[in-house]
Amino acid sequence: MNFSKSRVLYKSSLITYFLVQLMISPLFAQRDTITNYYETERIKLPKGLRAETGGMDFMPDGRLVACFHLGEVMTYNPKTKVWKKFAEGLHDPLGVAAISNTEILVMQRPELTRIKDTNNDGVADVYETVTDDFGMSGNYHEFAFGPLKDKDGNYFIALNVASNGAGIRPEIRGTYDSLSREGRMYSCVPYRGWVMKYNVKTQKLEPYASGFRSPNGLGFDAKGRLYVSDNQGDWRGTSPLYHVEKDKFYGHVASLIWKKDFPRVKPLSLPVEKLDSMRTREAIAFPHTEIAHSVTQPLLDNTGGKFGPFMGQLFIGEMDYPRLVRLLMEEVGGQMQGACVAFGDGTGLLKGNNRLVFDKNGDLWVGHNDHGWVGDEGLSRIHWKGKIPLEIMAMNLTKEGFELTFSLPVDAKIATNPSLYKFQRYYYKYHRLYGSPKTDVADVAVKEVTLSPDGKKVSFKLTELKAGYVYDLKMGELKTADGKLLMNRAIYYTLNKLK
């Protein structure tokens, strides 16, 4: 038959192709791509699982524990590749923390729940309410996130506000207050729009910080600072990441009514200038569509170098693009601020990167979700192949500009050419409307570029440097002397305070 003949022909042409490739490769080196450094593997899912991943953690014995939108908590043994049910019947669980091989904490819509297998049959039989001391209006948008355990054993959780895309239910939980019922997103029962701390000593849930809208991600940095992400929307010109400290207000106004000693006024009736002066700005603004649409969970690289050169830095997930984002922060004037740069583009990662966790081997597990958003379903694992890519390791503010630190020495001739760098600055408005366009956009000229003697630091003097702007730097093709290419050539620095 013709079919088999053509297959033979196809095979031989393939062999010729590879031979030619082999012969020309020393002359025309393969273009350096991210797949030389990182690879992404998709985890095979059990039949019948709708893998809208709400939470992930590792148990001490190395099993992954993950919770999903339809209320299941499953374990996965990476060695045997076996999935098993651990718990079921939960209400939209969006976070899990492993306590032991038989005990977990899960944040579900109505409560933080301790779930235990006490008879060692592998399936949970005890579901204890750790805290349900917060309100629910029954509005669908009142998602609950966390738990994040601090070094003293306390837990942070975060509570969404409601959406005016739907009303509230005839029966609610908690005291109703109509003061913040107006607006695109509202808070009409206690502590919607707050980050809360569950104090293990007093066993009480304490209000911690206000001003949140959809805080779908909590994490600590290497120094134990708490970070919480949020999404573009009302009072959110673009998606932000906040360094969260006790009693501070982070901009979304609906939650203010639950603040102790807050006057009985509608937050929406206060002048924007007043609200702006009350709020703490984001440590990082993620320019919308430039780098992210909807950031998720921040996670510290605590792998001790098993995941590449980024130890001590934070990664954060992103829903709408097949990427993660890497964060380069610094303390300036007593506040955290810094830059974000893409990570994982081109590794075959899916979209919907909702949850992140490192395993003991330093592989980064990504739980995907597409629920109600753009995204994907499933689980992936990103593995570092052992070689160092050319990446930006730091972006530091200086008196007159910025200094970039690279992972490898860069080619001096290319790197010192000022036309390689294009700086732009803009800001996002703080207002009641949904999102904000880039505002007061202007190019910023580079006065001077210098390269450090070790070839790893490039310093810029800029013609202008203003607080309250994002500095957007796009670079041409920067490389090392041996042809390694800069993997991500766009970086965005949120300048809240000048040096």
Binding site: L49, E111, A124, G165, R173
Partner: protein, 361 residues
């Protein structure tokens, strides 16, 4: 022109005489040569839309026949031999009321028709050779309640315990008892739906700490709640036979004082939940079980310590339930549990009435 006017007349007449609306029924061919619904009811002359889904891994069709004509139709198909395939295994005979095509796995066909004017039991069946002897159900054309499922001769004997079989939406089979925390109607947002079996369930309010209502005939359909943004409520499948219309049934110390409640979670024993909560600081464990033949539920209340105050269970004697208790005295629908009580079993009896003729669609 004449035709149009005549049709309009018929429609108006139908509306006036039956005051009815269209109905949509989702019917699935599922694993084990069966339909997920063992029977369903429509009204005479009602416009019926059937969403027929093949969720099995082999081909099936759906044929509705005249009363008592299931086997004649099934046997005619077998006699047709090779020729049957070309007509989707639907013989051209007046005994066939309406039919789908042969559906390969994971496909859907919508069938629209007007229900017969004559009340009766119209069988539905898969006529794929060999299937029709076991794979069938009953379409009741009636305005009256259906007969008891357990003795319904028009459905397969294996289905006389279960009107609807749910396919598992999870990576594990459905097992009963089964519990879902979800949004439920007439409950606080912290609701727990529990199926004691596939056809007997209740709703426990984890916000307010009490049994809200119980129903028979199925469990809860979370399809709409799980898709989309989660705003939709779970849909009750079946008929509610008990609803607690008392503000809060348990009282401590005084029969007319509402207690402070605190939900503490639940434990599972062979999948059966025992709820833990406190009323005015009195710790309670409550377990609900089905009475024999699903004639209601028993509620076992266990107090962590012998009670030091009188505890009351307030019921409404117009709720159609016959209450009995292992401990205490009843007066005007209120049960008084003496100090020192550690355990009390309350049975709530509600004999199954003939089941309602409509489903919770």
């Amino acid at each position: 022109m004449y035709k149009v006017v005549f049709r309009l007349f018929v429609v108006l007449f139908a509306f006036r005489s039956w005051a009815q609306s269209d109905t949509t029924i989702t019917l699935q061919a599922i694993t084990g040569l069966q339909f997920d619904l063992a029977r369903f009811a429509v009204k005479p002359n009602q416009k019926v839309k059937i969403l027929f889904k093949n969720e099995d891994d082999m081909a099936h069709n759906l044929v509705i026949t005249q009363p008592d004509k299931r086997l004649p139709v099934v046997e005619t198909v077998i006699k047709m031999g090779d020729k049957a395939q070309a007509v989707n295994y639907v013989p051209p005979m007046p005994e066939v009321l309406v039919a789908s095509k042969i559906l390969v796995p994971n496909t859907t066909e919508t069938i629209t028709f007007t229900a017969p004017a004559t009340e009766g039991v119209y069988p539905y069946v898969c006529t794929y050779p060999g299937h029709g002897y076991v794979m069938y159900g009953a379409m009741y054309v009636t305005t009256r309640p259906l007969p008891l499922l357990a003795t319904d001769p028009n459905i397969p004997p294996s289905r006389q315990t279960l009107e609807r079989i749910l396919s598992s939406p999870h990576p594990f089979p459905l097992e009963y008892p089964l519990l879902y925390r979800t949004f439920m109607p007439e409950c606080s947002p912290a609701a727990i739906a529990v199926a004691l079996s596939a056809s007997h369930a209740y709703c426990f309010d984890a916000g307010k700490c009490y049994l809200r209502y119980a129903w028979r005939g199925g469990f809860v359909d979370n399809t709409d709640h799980w898709k989309g943004n989660g705003n939709a409520l779970g849909k009750i499948q079946g008929t509610i036979y008990f609803k607690d219309n008392v503000t809060y049934p348990l009282r401590v110390g005084k029969a007319d004082k509402l207690p402070e409640v605190d939900f503490k979670g639940y434990t599972l024993s062979n999948r059966l939940p025992t709820f833990r909560y406190a009323i005015d600081g009195v710790e309670v464990r409550e377990t609900l079980k089905a009475l024999p033949n699903d004639e209601g539920v028993s509620r076992t209340f266990v107090f962590s310590k012998p009670t030091t105050q009188t505890v009351y269970l307030v019921t409404q004697h117009t709720d159609g339930i016959t209450y009995k208790s292992s401990v205490g005295k009843w007066q005007n629908g209120t049960l008084t549990l003496p100090k020192g009580t550690t355990k009390c079993v309350v049975t709530m009896q509600a004999p199954p009435a003939a089941q309602g003729a409509h489903h919770g669609h």
